[in-house]
Every structure is written in structure tokens, then in C-alpha cells.
């Protein structure tokens, strides 16, 4: 369970997070929804242990990660979380397989090949990122994050750089993998339709939480009118 209490964060004079309280249960599929500039990424970076908030605390189960040092935070990320970004940030000089090993080695996971197959890239083990389409690259980054066997997977606009159809496919992979494995997902998006695939929706507005609600039924990526 992830619990955030009164998180604040400012850049210069501008307060980007103005006291955020939220709770995400284990196995949840939560989406943080909001307009551009509302502070979604900043919130995601804070609760995932990428950046320290200025104030407030973040609990994973009962331990507070907001007071950890840089090295301790790194270790925390190693053991608990996985990331997927809008820009895939694959390592350009390494093959698909080597990129996925970046995540797999951290968890001493030798089954990483099956994850690459699960995202449909079994035939591209030796390709370099520059030889893949955007959707394929994003699927590599999904495999890389999953190979790490994280407790919580954080995604920041994972379909943001993709066209609709490819975005749909990628989203579908994410939902399918979540159904299979039941880890916790926290995904940022500005697209209200994508939010319909989630269990819990956290809507943000100018650095505050506007509402939190649960979808009665989770739609799949083809049912949402994107």
C-alpha cells in the first residue's frame, strides 16, 4: 500500500504540488489524470521515489521513504519500483535483449526472454532501438521495467508519443500483463478516455487532487472511445 500525506513541492516560487493526500492499494490500477502542467509528473516522481518532495511523507506499507538519502532511495527503487516514460529512454547502443537485461539483472531474473515474448518482440532480440518503431520501442521499455519484477509499476504518459492504434496496442499489453501478474500500476495521463481502463482514477487540478473515484467496470483499450 502506498500512502501520501500532505506532499508539497515547489520549483522556484511556483508551488507545483499543494498538499497531496492519497492512498493506492496493492494490486490497484490507478490513473493520475489531469491537464498539462497540473503537476502529474511531479507527483508521480515524488511517490515513486525519483525526486524528494519538499514536505509531507510517502509511506510504502509502514516505512516512510521521504526522508531517505539519495543512496537509500536508489536502493529503494531497485527493490520496489519500475518505470516507463513517454520517451522510451532505451540505451541506443544496446540490443533489445541487452536493454531488457538492464532491468532483469537487478532482480536476478533469468526469465527475461519470456517477458520479451510476452510483449510480442520475440523475433527482435538482436535489434537495436533505432531499428524499431515507436510502439515496439515502448514495448521494449515495458519489458525492461517488468523484467525487474517491481512491486509497483509507474508509467508517465506511456502512449504519449504513439499514434492511436499503436497506443491502443501498448495499453492493451499493459492491461494484459497487469491482469496476469496483479502488481500495482500507477499511470499518468491527460487523456480521460484512457482513465476509463483504470480501477481507480485520481484527478488532479493545479497541484491539488480534485477527486478520486473508482470505475465500476474497467474498459479494455478497444472499448474506450479514444
Amino acid at each position: 500500500m502506498i500512502k501520501a500525506k500532505e506532499i508539497t513541492k515547489s520549483y522556484g516560487r511556483e508551488q507545483v504540488l499543494k498538499g497531496i493526500n492519497l492512498q493506492i492499494n496493492d494490486g490497484d490500477f490507478a490513473v493520475i489524470l489531469g491537464a498539462s502542467g497540473s503537476g502529474k509528473s511531479t507527483l508521480l516522481n515524488a511517490i515513486s521515489g525519483l525526486e524528494r518532495p519538499d514536505g509531507g511523507s510517502i509511506f510504502y506499507d509502514n516505512s516512510d521513504i521521504s526522508g531517505l538519502s539519495d543512496d537509500e532511495l536508489t536502493k529503494f527503487r531497485k527493490n520496489n519500483v519500475g518505470f516507463i516514460f513517454q520517451q522510451y529512454y532505451l540505451l541506443p547502443n544496446m540490443t533489445v535483449s541487452q536493454n531488457v537485461r538492464m532491468g532483469a539483472d537487478l532482480a536476478q531474473n533469468s526469465e527475461y526472454q519470456s517477458i520479451i515474448e510476452a510483449v510480442g518482440l520475440g523475433g527482435k532480440l538482436n535489434s537495436y532501438p533505432s531499428e524499431l518503431s515507436g510502439g515496439e520501442q515502448q514495448r521494449v521499455s515495458i519489458a525492461r521495467a517488468l523484467a525487474k519484477q517491481p512491486r509497483v509499476l509507474f508509467l508517465d504518459e506511456p502512449t504519449g508519443a504513439l499514434d492511436e492504434e499503436t497506443g491502443r496496442q501498448v495499453l492493451d499489453y499493459i492491461i494484459k500483463l497487469w491482469n496476469d501478474k496483479q502488481f500495482t500500476i500507477v499511470m499518468v495521463t491527460h487523456n480521460a478516455n484512457i482513465a476509463e481502463t483504470a480501477k481507480t482514477v485520481i484527478r488532479m487540478k493545479s497541484g491539488k487532487i480534485a477527486e478520486i473515484y473508482t470505475n465500476d467496470t474497467q474498459k479494455n483499450s478497444y472499448e474506450i472511445g479514444w
Binding site: 536502493k75 531497485k78 529512454y89 541506443p92 537485461r101 538492464m102
Partner: protein, 378 residues
């Protein structure tokens, strides 16, 4: 429009160009002036006169030439690296409809840094010359050498290099711009040729990363080895040359060795870290420790640097042997020359200390890299 914030990095080749031109101008000008008094030389003076002429050329070739060539190579790589890393911007400008020549014309700026550097070097040399002429002839073994200005030095040491680098930047940019726009914009486009190597998917990630980091930029291997080569060769030479040449020359060697070593090492390691920023940031996101990052990115270069130092040691020994056995062969009272273990030891210890300090400094730089940085860069 393309070049901003490059001032500092362009300063470095400029400083090196200044030093190179300084040394070359000093000794070449002296040699030219020596030639003018050749007719006044009486037979008893001729051996010394010849030796003076040869040392001028040797010092100029060894120290100045070494510097000149390095500066030139460094600038060539620098221009190439700069244009390569700005491919994307070039592509965008080209896509917007700017003509190739118009975009490429911006790269004349590289010539300016050479112009400034070489001019400063030449002026510096002329300021220093009166004093230099005095010490070269302080025992009055030769007739008075009068200081003259030789225009050919201006042409060969200042004007030609400037024009060359101005043209180089522009021509290389035009050449790059020949690529289709899409290829320019698509980052890290990989040509077929580069992936012929054996792909090892079985190795551990960190080991693979260490190898690919080394392999992806071979020019950096050259520079790092060269840095330690220069440091090793020049410091040992200056330390063991005390008996063979004037302290001024020894001092100059030492200065050049340190300068070349530091500057090259600085440039090379900066490039290593800069070009791997995204990799380092992602490793941190995933939870790789500071030690892992540093190990994978920087540690692969260490053995190569030590090899460079070794080559430098052999090189300087060979050079001094030749100088003593060939150049000074006809002269009397030339001290014997043996391999100087004390000098090697001093040089090696200081090299290790300096190298490791650099690594600690860059490790701190790696520590500061965050994923935010690369996200905001988009």
C-alpha cells in the same frame, strides 16, 4: 543560431593552439635568425652552431609539433562530434527549408577559436623572444643574434590553420547535411556497418554496458591513451633532461606535458560522461548504485590509460637515446644518458594520483545526473 554556450569548450583547443604556436614560433624564429648569421660563423663555432640549429628543430618538432598535431586532431574530432551531436537541430533547420550552405556557414566559428589561439601564441612568443635569445646565447658562444620578424611564421602558424579549420567546419557540416532530413532527425541512426560485430546477449548488463561504452566511441580511447602518453612522455623527459638541455627547455616540456595531459583527459572524460547522460540517468531510475554507474561508464578506460602511459615512457626513452646518440654525437662533454627510474616513478605516482582525482571528480558529476535533466531536455 546553432552555436551557443560552446565558448568554454572552444577555449580549450584555442589554449592548446596558443601553446603550440608559442613554442613553434619561438624556436622557428630563432632558427631563421640563426641562419642569417651563418656567414659570420667561424670554424670553432660551427659545431655549436649546428647543434643549436638541430635542437631548435628537434624541440620544435617534438614539443611544438606534438602540440600542433594534437590540437589539429582534437579540433577535427571536436568539429565532428559537435556536428554529429547536433544532427537533429541541423535536420530541423533543413526541414524548415534553410539551404545547406546557409546552415553550414555557421560553423566558421571553429576558425575563430583557432585564429584567437594562434594569434595569442604568436604575440606571446614575440614578447618572450628577447629574453629567450639572451639565454640561448648567454655564454656568448655565438655572435649576436638579432631578433627579426619572419612573415612566413604568420602565414604558416596563424593564417593557414585558421582558414583550414574554418573550411573544415563548413565542409563537414555540408557533407553531413547531404543526409536525408529524416536520417538527421532520427536520433542514433545506426548504419548497417556498425552492427556487424558479434552481439553478446548473454553477458551481464553491466559488463555489456562497459564494453559498448568503450566501443561506441573509439576516438575517446585514442584521446585517453594520448593524454596519458603525453603526460608520461613529457614529464619523464623533462625530469631526465636536466643534464642534457637548459632548464628552460625542461620547464617547457613539463608544461606541455601537463597541459596536454590535463586538457585531453578533461575533454575526453567530459565527453564520456556527457554522451552517456541518458544511460546514467536511466540506470539511476532503475536503482543501479553510484558505484555501478561509475564502474560501467568510466572504469573501462583505466587500463587503456595505463597502457598509454607505458607507451609514453618507452617513447621518451627512445627519443632521448636518439638525441644523445645521434644529434649530440659529435659534441664533447655530453653527459651519458641512462633510463631514469626515479623520474619514471615520480611521473607514474603523480599520474595515478591525478587520474584518480579526475575519476572522483567525474564520479561526483555522475552523481548529480537526474532523470529530470533528460526529460526537460526534450
Amino acid at each position: 543560431m546553432i552555436i551557443k554556450k560552446q565558448g568554454v569548450k572552444l577555449m580549450i583547443p584555442a589554449i592548446m593552439a596558443a601553446c603550440a604556436v608559442f613554442i613553434c614560433a619561438l624556436f622557428l624564429n630563432y632558427r631563421q635568425d640563426l641562419l642569417l648569421i651563418e656567414s659570420q660563423i667561424i670554424p670553432e663555432q660551427s659545431v655549436y652552431f649546428e647543434a643549436m640549429k638541430t635542437t631548435s628543430v628537434v624541440v620544435c618538432a617534438v614539443a611544438g609539433g606534438c602540440l600542433l598535431i594534437t590540437t589539429a586532431i582534437m579540433l577535427i574530432f571536436y568539429v565532428k562530434h559537435y556536428i554529429d551531436t547536433h544532427k537533429k537541430q541541423l535536420g530541423i533547420l533543413k526541414a524548415l527549408g534553410y539551404s545547406r550552405v546557409k546552415i553550414a556557414a555557421n560553423f566558421w566559428i571553429f576558425g575563430v577559436s583557432v585564429l584567437i589561439g594562434t594569434s595569442v601564441g604568436l604575440c606571446g612568443a614575440f614578447c618572450f623572444m628577447p629574453w629567450f635569445y639572451d639565454i640561448q646565447n648567454k655564454d656568448k658562444l655565438l655572435p649576436e643574434v638579432t631578433l627579426g620578424f619572419h612573415a612566413e611564421l604568420l602565414v604558416f602558424l596563424v593564417i593557414l590553420p585558421t582558414v583550414f579549420f574554418m573550411a573544415l567546419g563548413i565542409v563537414y557540416a555540408i557533407f553531413k547535411l547531404k543526409m536525408p532530413v529524416l536520417m538527421l532527425i532520427k536520433e542514433n541512426f545506426r548504419s548497417k556497418a556498425r552492427r556487424t560485430g558479434h552481439i553478446n546477449n548473454d553477458g551481464l548488463f553491466l559488463e555489456n554496458l562497459k564494453k559498448t561504452t568503450l566501443k561506441s566511441r573509439k576516438s575517446l580511447i585514442f584521446f585517453l591513451m594520448f593524454a596519458s602518453f603525453c603526460y608520461g612522455a613529457m614529464t619523464q623527459m623533462s625530469l631526465s633532461m636536466n643534464d642534457l638541455a637548459s632548464p628552460v627547455m625542461g620547464g617547457m616540456m613539463l608544461f606541455i606535458g601537463l597541459l596536454l595531459g590535463f586538457v585531453t583527459l578533461f575533454l575526453a572524460v567530459t565527453t564520456v560522461v556527457d554522451s552517456n547522460t541518458q544511460t546514467i540517468a536511466m540506470m539511476k531510475v532503475f536503482g543501479y548504485s553510484q558505484t555501478d554507474c561509475k564502474h560501467a561508464i568510466l572504469d573501462g578506460y583505466r587500463p587503456l590509460s595505463y597502457i598509454g602511459f607505458g607507451i609514453g615512457t618507452v617513447y621518451q626513452y627512445a627519443l632521448l637515446r636518439i638525441m644523445v646518440d645521434v644529434v649530440f654525437a659529435d659534441m664533447e662533454n655530453v653527459p651519458t644518458y641512462e633510463f631514469d627510474f626515479a623520474a619514471m616513478f615520480t611521473s607514474l605516482v603523480s599520474f595515478v594520483i591525478i587520474y584518480e582525482i579526475f575519476m572522483v571528480a567525474y564520479s561526483a558529476k555522475i552523481k548529480k545526473i537526474t532523470v529530470k535533466e533528460i526529460m526537460l531536455r526534450e
